[in-house]
């Protein structure tokens, strides 16, 4: 067991420090939120230049073949800076699915495009009324038709969809068991996209498929493996999101620590009040335990599915709760200023709330972990 960073990890964090620190502030966040995509495409290009988009890509496709630990460390930095780029969707989720695709030649091409920053892919798997931890498609169906498929149905809240060139869509394949994963271009005929912002400034969309015609090659992963691949991909996305949460919490604590030393009430810095000190202690504990659980999830990321998902849900439980503690307390110590869009803490608050609820929330992960304990 060794917590020290490898050379590549140190380089990664160093590059993150340099690129992100200049823009980790309220002005930048508010400006990005007002833009069309919620992030700056020029900075996305910088992500590509720094190799971040190639991080989990296999060397064969020109990537860095990075580990899940590498991804987690980079995402801690992204979380600290509240980066709104679609990194998790494209580089964690889509990459993992593509690496499992049947047609590896085509997949490597796509991964190369991702690494180069010219292609973004978003996953759309969630259906209205479905359990957030379920991955089997129900209301989206692919019918065989000629050489290819015709897709119909609807998805909700596909994260980062508005900026994606392609979507990975989960669908039941008529006449087959299981759930297949299809690659669908954003401009496919019959696909309608309703984009919207989330409270943290990132974007999502609801998708509807009205007999969208797809070529045979659109099927990335067949029904026999689609659900398992999706679960793996989402678990990795969860780890990346938890890393962002840890980064966001640690950054929020820094912001609050500085604020309570600066802000005066009753003639003294509010940090001199024991009640404020204890709130800050609680926040430190929460963020510290959150990082511990990120390590726990990472240590189990490559175990069998039962072990992996139990560890992941336990981590989601602790980290989700910690995010609430840190951000709610953070607002409380800021007083009224915490409720304005002009102080950083409110931005951390909204980001942490989003992370808590994406790919299953506190309650659902708590239930899944409880079930894993008592069977």
């Amino acid at each position: 067991m060794d917590f020290a960073k490898s050379d590549i990890q140190a380089m990664l964090l160093d590059s993150a420090d340099r690129l992100l620190s200049e823009n980790a502030d309220v002005e930048y966040w508010r400006h990005q939120r007002g833009g069309a995509l919620g992030f700056d495409e020029a900075r996305w290009a910088r992500f590509a230049e720094l190799g971040w988009l190639a991080l989990p890509v296999p060397e064969a496709a020109g990537g860095l073949d990075g580990s899940i630990e590498d991804i987690a460390l980079l995402n801690i930095a992204l979380g600290k800076a509240l980066a709104t780029e679609p990194y998790v969707s494209t580089v964690v989720l889509a990459d993992h699915v593509l690496k499992q695709a049947a047609d590896q030649l085509r997949a490597m091409e796509l991964l190369g495009d991702i690494a180069g920053g010219t292609l973004r892919i978003a996953l759309a798997h969630q259906e209205n009324g479905a359990h957030p931890l379920g991955v089997e498609a129900r209301g989206t169906v692919a019918r065989a038709s000629g050489d290819g498929y015709v897709l119909s149905g609807a998805k909700i809240m596909a994260l980062d969809a508005p900026s994606a060139g392609q979507f990975i869509i989960s669908a039941r394949i008529e006449g087959e068991e299981g759930t297949g994963l299809f690659l669908v271009p954003a401009d496919a005929a019959g696909l309608s996209i309703e984009p919207y912002a989330l409270i943290d400034g990132t974007r999502a969309a609801d998708l509807a498929f009205a007999d969208v015609a797809l070529p045979a090659g659109a099927l990335l992963v067949g029904g026999n493996r689609g659900a398992a691949v999706l679960r793996e991909a989402i678990d990795r996305a969860s780890i990346a999101l938890m890393a962002q949460a840890v980064g966001a919490m640690e950054a929020a604590n820094k912001v609050c620590g500085a604020y309570v030393q600066e802000r005066k009430q009753f003639g003294t810095a509010i940090g001199s009040f024991q009640a404020i000190q204890h709130i800050m202690a609680d926040n430190f504990i929460a963020a510290h335990q959150a990082r511990s659980m990120l390590y726990h999830a990472l240590a189990n990321a490559d175990q069998d599915e039962a072990t992996r998902s139990a560890a992941l849900s336990a981590a989601r439980l602790v980290i989700g709760e910690a995010g609430q503690v840190v951000s709610r307390n953070g607002i409380q110590v800021h007083g009224g200023y915490g409720l304005t869009d002009e102080y950083a803490i409110g931005h951390y608050f909204r980001r942490l709330m989003c992370i808590e609820k994406q790919y299953g929330d506190l309650i659902q992960h708590g239930e899944r972990f409880g079930d894993s304990i008592f069977g």
């Binding site: 969630q126 989330l198 003639g267 409380q332 009224g336």
Partner: protein
């Protein structure tokens, strides 16, 4: 000891309900029910005041001579509860519940004649200028000055968290009229017209997309001396009177009851693989706890209204209402949000335009829940933070 509700009050409730049903315009009710913003739209709020005033029920809690209804505390409780339940627009509390009582208790005849009818008739919104950037929970340290020069007060300073100031024609302010005495004694209570030269209002963007709270900058603002309420230097006393006058308001009991009912609807409406969120045991356990806590809060309100004899100062019971009331507002709005899961993360514009038409995916309850939950983190901050309230409570109840 008689703990059951007086049967006469049930009759009264039926009458109130019928009255509201008759006078509350359906479109206003619908706008109120479906609004995304935390605060009611100003035109609806003022129009509703005028409707109530037409029926003599705009300020039922005031003395009858100024337009009150002469109702008992329990009648007022029921009236308010039914208003909220019916999705009527909230009162402009600043005017009706804060300024009003100070005015009719301490104001000159001139001020009473001029402003009480304005409040009652919903002629204008009222801005409340108490907090300052350097004095949040520490109100006594406020620095905005009002110097009497040639029969006018010249006001200089800055207020913050002045809710609704951008839409208010008038405001009431705590200002320092005497710097030579100890902080609490130099404060006065002043009415200021918001379009007086020298006043600049800046809306503060909030984390929920609204900009209801404002900064008010006062730069050599001239205010007629007769707009000072009561005696100079007594502002602190009046502000305390105002807070003590409304011991049960801070419980937000009516609001929380309505919102808990809404949370229940959402938990019944949202499903996971065909199972209602309401049937998820962990969610249901949390909901049960919130509903039980809300019942406790309601009985605590009733105890204060009935002036129950009590081991500690009554102010301690009021402090409990503020602390638990604010915590429950937060928990109840989060129940709404959590019942919607990831769908709660969608941002809806809080501008006073109709929200998107409901769909299967986005039912009419969806827009607004998160908007309100986010800004509700303020409930444990304004009006004396939870930490301050606990200091006060420890002192009142245990002499610490």
């Amino acid at each position: 000891m008689e703990l059951r509700l007086d049967p006469d009050l049930e009759t009264f409730r039926t009458q109130v309900r019928a009255f509201i049903d008759r006078v509350l315009p359906a479109d206003m009710k619908e706008r109120q029910r479906r609004k995304v913003a935390n605060n009611a739209a100003v035109p609806d709020l003022l129009q509703w005041m005028r409707i109530l005033d037409d029926h003599g029920r705009a300020v039922p809690h005031w003395p009858e001579e100024f337009g009150g209804c002469g109702w008992s505390p329990m009648q007022l409780f029921i009236f308010n509860e039914e208003l909220y339940k019916a999705d009527a627009p909230e009162f402009d509390w600043g005017g009706t519940h804060m300024l009003g009582p100070v005015l009719y208790t301490y104001g000159s005849d001139y001020l009473k004649d001029k402003f009480l009818p304005m409040i009652r008739e919903g002629a204008t919104m009222w801005a409340q200028g108490f907090s300052e950037p350097g004095s949040g929970s520490d109100l006594a340290s406020l620095r905005t000055s009002a110097d009497l020069v040639d029969g006018k007060y010249i006001v200089n300073g800055q207020k913050i968290w002045t809710s609704g100031a951008a839409h208010a024609d008038w405001g009431f302010f705590l200002v320092r009229t005497d710097k030579s005495v100890k902080p609490q004694r130099g404060i006065s209570f002043l009415i200021i017209k918001m379009d007086t030269p020298g006043i600049t209002v800046r809306q503060i963007p909030q984390i929920n997309g609204e900009a209801h709270l404002c900064e008010v900058f006062l730069d050599n603002v001239e205010v007629p001396a007769d707009q000072l309420i009561g005696e100079p230097g007594m502002g602190w006393t009046y502000a305390k009177f105002l807070l003590e006058h409304e011991r049960t308001t801070s419980s937000f009991i009516y609001w929380s009851k309505r919102e808990l009912a809404r949370a229940k609807d959402i938990a019944r409406g949202e499903t996971m693989d065909g199972r209602r969120v309401a049937d998820d045991p962990a969610f249901r356990a949390r909901f049960a706890r919130a509903e039980a806590d809300l019942l406790a809060l309601e009985w605590s309100v009733l105890r204060v209204l009935a002036h129950e004899e009590f081991d500690a100062p009554e102010a301690a019971a009021a402090s409990v209402l503020k602390i638990r009331g604010s915590e429950l507002q937060q928990e109840i709005t989060m129940l709404q949000v959590d019942a919607m899961g990831a769908k709660s993360l969608r941002f809806f514009d809080a501008a006073p335009v109709p929200p998107p038409a409901p769909t299967d995916v986005w039912p009419d309850y969806a827009p607004g829940r998160t908007t309100v939950a986010l800004i509700n983190r303020a409930a444990t901050i304004y009006g004396g933070s939870k930490q301050i309230q606990k200091n006060i409570l420890a002192k009142l109840a245990f002499g610490l």
